[in-house]
C-alpha cells in the first residue's frame, strides 16, 4: 500500500514546513482538505496519494478537528514533535488572526442593518453547506457494513435527539454511539 513513489521529496526545514502549511491554510475557503491534498501530494510531493489517504483515515477516526490532526501527523512524520507543532502553527496562526479581525469588525458593525442582513444570509448558506456535506456523506452509508436500514435508523435517531430534543452530546454518544460500535463489531466479526 504505502510503497514510496520514486519522485517523493521531503521538506528541507521547519521553515519550509511552516510556509507550505500556511500557504494551503490561506487558500482554504470553506475547508482545507481539498487544498491540502493538492498541495501536499501533487505540488510538493511530500506524500504519495495512498499515504495521504491513510493518514487522513486515521485523522478522521480520532476525535478533534480533522485538518488539525492531519497537520500534526504529517509534521510529526518529518520532524517529530517540533514538526507537528510547526505544521499546526502554519495551519492556524494566520487564519486565526484574520478571522478574529473579521469578528472584531463585525462586533463594531453588527447594529448596521446591512451587516446584520449579510450575516443572516451567510448564516443560511452555512446551514445549507453543512446539510449538503451531511447528505453527500450519507451516500457512503450504503456501503456501511452494518447495513443501510440500521445505519439510517441510527443517523435519524441522532438527528432527533440532538436537533429536536436538544439532548447533551455526551449522553447521545455514550448511549447511541456504544450501540453503533457494538452493532458494527458484531457484524464485522462474522
Amino acid at each position: 500500500m504505502s510503497e514510496p513513489s520514486p519522485a517523493l521529496r521531503q521538506p528541507g526545514s521547519l521553515g519550509e514546513l511552516f510556509r507550505v502549511f500556511n500557504r494551503l491554510a490561506l487558500q482554504g475557503f470553506g475547508g482545507v482538505l481539498a487544498v491540502a491534498q493538492r498541495e501536499l501530494v501533487e505540488r510538493e510531493r511530500w506524500l504519495g496519494r495512498d499515504e495521504f489517504v491513510e493518514i487522513l483515515s486515521v485523522a478522521q477516526v480520532l476525535p478533534g478537528p480533522n485538518i488539525v490532526n492531519l497537520s500534526l501527523m504529517i509534521g510529526d512524520r518529518f520532524f517529530g514533535l517540533r514538526g507537528a507543532f510547526t505544521a499546526l502553527a502554519g495551519m492556524m496562526l494566520a487564519p486565526l488572526v484574520i478571522v478574529l479581525l473579521l469578528a472584531a469588525l463585525y462586533a463594531r458593525a453588527a447594529q448596521h442593518p446591512l451587516v446584520s442582513g449579510a450575516l443572516r444570509g451567510m448564516g443560511a448558506v452555512s446551514a445549507g453547506l453543512i446539510i449538503a456535506t451531511g447528505l453527500k456523506l450519507a451516500v457512503s452509508l450504503k456501503r456501511n457494513e452494518m447495513g443501510l436500514p440500521l445505519s439510517l435508523a441510527i443517523g435519524a435517531c441522532t438527528f432527533v435527539m440532538v436537533a429536536l430534543m436538544r439532548w447533551p452530546l455526551v449522553g447521545v454518544l455514550a448511549g447511541l454511539g456504544s450501540l453503533g460500535i457494538a452493532a458494527a463489531w458484531w457484524r464485522l466479526r462474522k
Binding site: 477516526v61 485538518i67 486565526l96 484574520i98 450575516l119 453547506l129
Partner: protein, 183 residues
C-alpha cells in the same frame, strides 16, 4: 455584545467554558463541527452567553474566512468573552485531541485494520451524519420562519450536491441577498 471585553463573564465562567470545550474535544469524532449542536445547547440555551443570531453569525464569519473550519470555535469564544473567550474555547477544543492525536499516530498506524478500529469507524459513521444534519438545523434556528431563507438554504444544498462550484460563491451570494434585506 460588542468590543474586546469579557462581556461580564467571570473567571469562573471562563473556566466553565474552557472545561466544556475540553470535554467536547474528545467527543468531536468526525470533526469539530459535529459538536456545534452541543456548543449551542450550552452557550446559547443553558448559559445565555450568546444569542441564537450571534451563534449562527459566528459560524458564518468563520466560513467566510480562509483556514480550518475549527476556527468557528475561536469566533464563538470571541463573541462570548473577547480574546479571553477565544483562548478558553480554542485551547479547550484543541488540547485533548492534539495530545491524543500525537500519541495515537504511531499506535494506530499498525492497528488500522483491526476489528476494534474498524468497528469504531463503522459504528460511529451514522452518528457523524446525524450530527452534521443537526448542525445545519440548529444554524438555521434564527431564520427558519423566513421563507426566503429556506429557499436560500435549499439552493445552497442543491448547488453543492449538483455542481463543483466553490462554496465561496454561495457565501458571497448569501451576503448580498442578506444585505439587500431579502432574508
Amino acid at each position: 455584545m460588542t468590543g474586546l471585553g469579557m462581556h461580564g463573564l467571570s473567571v469562573g465562567d471562563l473556566f466553565a467554558l474552557f472545561s466544556h470545550f475540553l470535554m467536547l474535544s474528545l467527543l468531536a469524532v468526525g470533526g469539530a463541527i459535529t459538536t456545534a449542536p452541543d456548543m449551542h445547547r450550552y452557550v446559547v440555551g443553558e448559559r445565555h452567553w450568546l444569542s441564537d443570531d450571534l451563534f449562527t453569525a459566528s459560524v458564518a464569519l468563520a466560513q467566510a474566512a480562509p483556514g480550518p473550519n475549527v476556527l468557528f470555535v475561536a469566533v464563538l469564544g470571541f463573541n462570548a468573552a473577547g480574546l479571553a473567550g477565544t483562548a478558553a474555547t480554542l485551547l479547550g477544543i484543541m488540547l485533548p485531541s492534539t495530545t491524543l492525536a500525537l500519541w495515537a499516530t504511531r499506535w494506530s498506524h499498525s492497528r488500522r485494520d483491526t476489528l476494534g478500529v474498524r468497528a469504531f469507524k463503522t459504528g460511529l459513521a451514522p452518528l457523524t451524519l446525524g450530527l452534521l444534519l443537526a448542525t445545519g438545523w440548529i444554524l438555521a434556528d434564527p431564520v427558519r420562519d423566513r421563507p426566503a431563507a429556506i429557499v436560500l438554504i435549499a439552493v445552497t444544498v442543491a448547488v453543492m450536491l449538483k455542481t463543483r462550484l466553490s462554496p465561496l460563491w454561495l457565501v458571497a451570494l448569501g451576503a448580498v441577498v442578506g444585505a439587500l434585506g431579502w432574508v
